[in-house]
Amino acid sequence: MLKVIDSAVPIACWSCSVAHNDATLFCPHCSKIQPPTGGDYFSVFGIEPRLDLDLNALESEFHRLSRKLHPDRFARAGENEKQWSLADTALLNDAYRTLKDPITRTEYLLKLRGAEIAELHAGKDRKGQDDPSRVPADLLEEVFDLNMQLEEMRMARQAEETDVVLEASLTEAKKKFDGLLNAVNKDLRAQWKVWDEGDATARQAAQSTMVKLLDRRRYLSNLVRDVTETLGA
């Protein structure tokens, strides 16, 4: 779903034949439903790609479009329109789910821009690159040590012992990692602003910073999840 339509190429509406450039779900001229666009998720909502979104506006636009696309409204329409109402609804749902969450939205925009994140660079031959892990060594050490502590605690739990010292250090660690996660989230938001308001050069820089922040965030959120699980068990 990452194909970006060339908006310079107009598409003719199947019904009124008036050309429209917008990757729109409804013809701006005759208001008839259109087949799912090849545009990005932002265009589904009629907005330019950006990171700092008005979530209330997004939600009300989602509800408005959902109602307009509802298959019940196409009960007496032609076969094509019936199919498109289903397909457009599915597209709208995917778009909304992706854009409403700040992290998936950021990941999506980065993918759209061809930035290398997550699965995209997985499996690639990374040799010859400057920094194969891209995660600071001290974070790696910390992640590893905390995982060891977590495992110890799980084993102690299984043996029905309670290790007070261990539990205290885990609670301490959770606090610390929560704090680090918040800091990463804050840094991400700062980069959103840079990207949304910046020119091409600033955007490029913001993109690579965001890729690194997301990598770091993945470790931290896994850790917070595991610590919370173990403490709560």
Binding site: A118, V143, Y219
Partner: protein, 140 residues
């Protein structure tokens, strides 16, 4: 996605899980991570200073089944090999042996990185001339 039988075997009966004395000059430690999934892998080797043969290899991995299987297999393969010989192990060999699907290839890359990092650490400790790219050290 289903794991292959080889992966399940290594996952259920991981070989060489454990720790070697990090402070020993005969021991090299590699700690690497895969940011795409948040996995961390530590691989350690004990090298015979006379023969340069890896006599012992241990690992500890926090991650998915494929990451555990890749590191388990890596320790099996490097044991009994010379340091130089072990550097010849490629992630693609691990992919083949474990029939890893494309989305899990990075697990094998991680295992190869871990071998290189451990050997790099051992070489550094023993002032052996560096042949592996220096970049490997950043993962320690």
């Amino acid at each position: 996605m289903a794991y292959s039988d080889r992966v399940i075997d290594h996952y259920n009966n991981p070989r060489n899980v454990g720790t070697l004395d990090k402070a020993s000059t005969e021991v090299g430690t590699g700690l690497v991570g895969a940011p795409e999934c948040g996995d961390v892998m530590r691989l350690q080797i004990r090298v015979n200073p006379e023969t340069q043969v890896i006599e012992e290899a241990k690992f500890k991995t926090f991650g998915c089944g494929s990451a555990i299987a890749s590191s388990s297999l890596a320790t099996e393969w490097i044991k009994g090999r010379t340091v130089e010989d072990a550097l010849g192990i490629k992630n693609t060999d691990i992919v083949k042996e474990l029939s890893l699907p494309p989305v899990k290839i990075h697990c094998s890359v991680l295992a190869e990185d871990a071998i290189r990092a451990a050997i790099g650490d051992w070489k550094k400790k023993n002032s052996v001339a560096e042949t592996a790219p220096a970049a490997v050290h950043t993962a320690q």
